[in-house]
């Protein structure tokens, strides 16, 4: 049992895809159902969950860990395998561009204009993941407002009546 647990931990550390074996499928499905019940319908605060250790000690699960676990279990419950890939605290310009759904060229422009902070390592630029995500949050929020404005104009000029006849 001890040896098997180590092997499983090793596999995950080496980023080998891991799937639930048939005898664990029912347990994984039950766990997935329980977690899904806690997140749907979506609410403002993450449900407060705890891990109960072998000696009965309880350890609180932070919000981010809870949602990662929920996602992992959801994938495994489908019978798919999963790999955990650490991303690190910094990303490359290409990774940042992918996260923002823009071209790398446009991302470089944002850096040159000082809109997102970065650090230079030799001739490469690296961005902190929090900086990229906070830029994205702000951009998405503004853009939602812009899209609402555009839809209002569509409505004002009869777009939703005339075109769908």
């Amino acid at each position: 049992m001890e040896a098997a647990a180590h092997t499983m931990e090793d596999l995950i550390r080496r980023m080998t895809p891991v799937a639930a074996p048939p005898e664990q499928q029912a347990q994984v499905a039950a766990l997935s159902k329980a977690l899904e019940g806690m997140v749907h319908p979506p609410r403002r605060r993450a449900p407060k969950c705890q891990l109960v250790g072998p000696k009965g000690e309880s350890i609180p699960l932070p919000e981010t860990v809870f949602y990662v676990l929920e996602r992992v279990v959801e994938v495994m419950a489908r019978g798919d395998s999963i790999t955990v890939v650490p991303v690190g605290r910094e990303v490359t310009t290409q990774q940042a561009a992918d996260l923002l759904n823009v071209s790398r060229q446009y991302l470089i422009r944002l850096l040159d204009e000082g809109r997102i902070p970065f650090r230079k390592t030799g001739k490469h630029r690296r961005l902190r993941i929090e900086d990229v995500l906070s830029f994205k949050d702000k951009r998405d929020k503004d853009r939602r407002a812009g899209l609402r404005e555009l839809s209002q104009m569509t409505q004002e000029f009869g777009g939703y009546d005339s075109e769908l006849k």
């Binding site: 991303v87 990303v91 990774q95 992918d98 996260l99 923002l100 759904n101 823009v102 071209s103 060229q105 446009y106 998405d140 503004d142 853009r143 939602r144 812009g146 899209l147 404005e149 555009l150 839809s151 104009m153 569509t154 004002e156 000029f157 777009g159 939703y160 075109e163 769908l164």
Partner: protein, 99 residues
């Protein structure tokens, strides 16, 4: 990390119909694809919205500005490689819409 999605050049005939434009922009905002347009494409959209009496000139101009403000990454510039590709695609790709 996140796989790069499709790059889509949206021509003026896609941006002209109001509801289609809304849908295309929302799909891009949701990360389904990356939009590209040029100054010429936006000019054509604006011009046609006014000439067909779909919108008064000031509203069409505001619509265009709003699109440029919230999708700044979509604009390709005259010198960029994507701009040449954009022109090539405008010649070769026609998206036909039901009347």
């Amino acid at each position: 990390m996140v796989p790069a999605p499709f790059i889509v050049v949206v021509d003026a005939n896609v941006l002209f119909p109001l509801t289609l434009r809304d849908t295309v922009l929302r799909a891009a905002a949701a990360g389904f694809d990356q939009l590209r347009w040029s100054k010429e494409i936006l000019d054509e959209m604006e011009r046609n919205l006014v000439s067909t009496d779909t919108m008064p000139a000031d509203k069409a101009a505001r619509l265009r500005t709003t699109m440029e403000t919230y999708f700044p990454e979509a604009l390709v510039t005259a010198t960029s490689r994507s701009s040449r590709r954009c022109r090539t695609m405008r010649r070769t790709v026609t998206l036909s819409l039901p009347p």
